[in-house]
């Protein structure tokens, strides 16, 4: 237990901060994924074949390719791509993107592909009458979407979004390869300097379990709250 002491003698405080970092990356990634899903779900449901193709290739490619490969693409390619764009505008200095942003964007894009599928399924399971009723009542398009369809879509997607959240939370462990100090990276550092990998990796597993357990409790409460009256 000395290994987990707070302060200079143990790794307790470092691991605690690392756990907060994992939570921060997961939430950021989930949020980015949310935005991606809100962009791609309408494309997926649209009648235009070309827009369909774009959305389908996004979800198929991201869900069919290992997460680690996507992270390597962003880790090695992110700053290069940004520098290329910057060079068009006449900026030739070296740009380095922070590991937090690279990681959140990479995981966010992955999480977005899953969320897109969840939203698509949710919209398709909304009663057809709702669409017709809002059409008959003559709502404007954005009110129709934001006030009538989206609230129902969100309620229906809570159970599946909780799966996406779990996947996202676990995927953040892969960001450790880019050097961002989250749970996995901190355990790697601690294991290296104390030569006790078994203890620190097991403790990392416990931290992840605690995070998934706590978030499930929270989501279950949310689900109960929004299922009132159904």
């Amino acid at each position: 237990m000395d290994l987990l002491a707070f302060g200079k003698t143990g790794w307790g405080d470092e691991l605690f901060v690392a756990a907060l970092m994992t939570i921060a990356v997961s939430i950021t990634a989930m949020f980015i994924g949310f935005i991606f899903a809100l962009i791609f779900t309408p494309l997926k449901l649209s009648k235009n074949k070309f827009l369909n193709l774009i959305a389908n290739s996004y979800t198929t490619v991201i869900r069919g390719v290992p997460e680690l490969l996507v992270i390597y693409l962003f880790f090695f390619g992110g700053s290069g791509a940004l520098m290329y764009v910057a060079s068009i505008f006449g900026y030739y200095e070296y740009i380095e993107i922070n590991a937090f942003i690279t990681g959140s964007v990479a995981i966010g894009i992955i999480s977005g592909a899953y969320s897109t599928e969840v939203f698509r399924g949710a919209i398709q399971s909304i009663d057809k009458g709702q669409f017709e009723a809002s059409k008959v009542l003559g709502f404007k398009k954005h009110i129709h979407f934001f006030k009538i369809i989206m609230p129902q879509m969100l309620r229906l997607s809570i159970p599946n979004l909780s799966n996406v959240w779990q996947i996202t939370l676990k995927d953040t462990s892969l960001i450790s390869v880019t050097g961002l100090v989250e749970i996995m990276r901190q355990s790697y550092i601690a294991a290296g300097s104390t030569r006790d990998p078994l203890f620190f990796y097991s403790f990392a597993a416990v931290l992840y379990l605690a995070l998934t357990f706590l978030s499930m409790q929270l989501i279950n409460r949310l689900e109960l709250k929004y299922n009132k009256g159904y």
Partner: protein, 224 residues
């Protein structure tokens, strides 16, 4: 876009595909045995079923990366493993990866099979009983085939998830597709080209798995 690099890296990455496939097939083979074992434990509600639940909860609630690291780096600390024949397996990253993957996919498989067992219509079992078939035979000849058939779509997804999971073998020095891709990227600094090639190989594999499962589903459906 560097077309030459795309062409040059293709055979190298295809070599990695062989390791990926080996890892996938070995871990799926052991995983289905583990999954079936723990799914059967969970049918009855007793102490053993609680252990089976704990196993699947822990392995589904933690990242695969942690599991590989515990098995590859962590288990080397335990004397029971290092001083006995077990060390032969645990000193090889290849076997460590397979053990981790098999335990991980076993946890998911046990959940898939459990829910399949639970949704078998009671009528099938009653029909078997009324025909005077023994309990053992009902289990092996009625419950297990139906459960397998029902869990095919979910199991197909699990194979694809595991295919993607094998990429983590590259973190314990194995040169699978992702391992080789990372090596090429870090020597040439051309991530996009390598990503296109490696990604296409993975997508092609996903495509094949998806269609095989679809074919099996059709073949074993009750309707025809």
């Amino acid at each position: 876009m560097d077309i030459d690099l795309i062409i040059a890296s293709f055979p190298k990455l295809l070599g990695g595909a062989l390791i990926t496939l080996k890892l996938l097939s070995a871990s799926m083979f052991f995983g289905i045995l583990i999954g079936l074992f723990f799914a059967i434990l969970r049918i009855k509600n007793n102490f053993l079923s609680k252990i089976a639940y704990g196993y699947s909860y822990v392995f589904r609630g933690t990242p695969l990366l942690v599991q590989i690291f515990i098995i590859y780096y962590g288990f080397a600390e335990i004397d029971l493993i290092r001083k006995t024949f077990l060390w032969e397996a645990f000193k090889e990253p290849y076997w460590c990866a397979i053990i981790a993957f098999a335990l991980n996919t076993g946890a998911y498989t046990s959940e898939i099979l459990r829910s399949a067992f639970e949704t078998i219509k009671i009528g099938y079992i009653e029909a078997g009983k009324s025909l005077g078939i023994s309990k053992k035979l009902i289990f092996y000849k009625i419950q297990i085939p139906i459960a397998i058939k029902q869990s095919l779509p979910a199991y197909g997804n699990e194979i694809i998830l595991m295919l993607k999971g094998t990429s983590l073998a590259s973190t314990v020095t194995l040169m699978d597709i992702t391992g080789i891709a990372k090596y090429i990227i870090s020597t040439t600094f051309k991530p996009i080209e390598v990503f296109i090639v490696a990604g296409s190989i993975y997508l092609f594999m996903t495509f094949i798995i998806h269609n095989v499962i679809k074919f099996l589903e059709k073949k074993y459906s009750f309707n025809n």
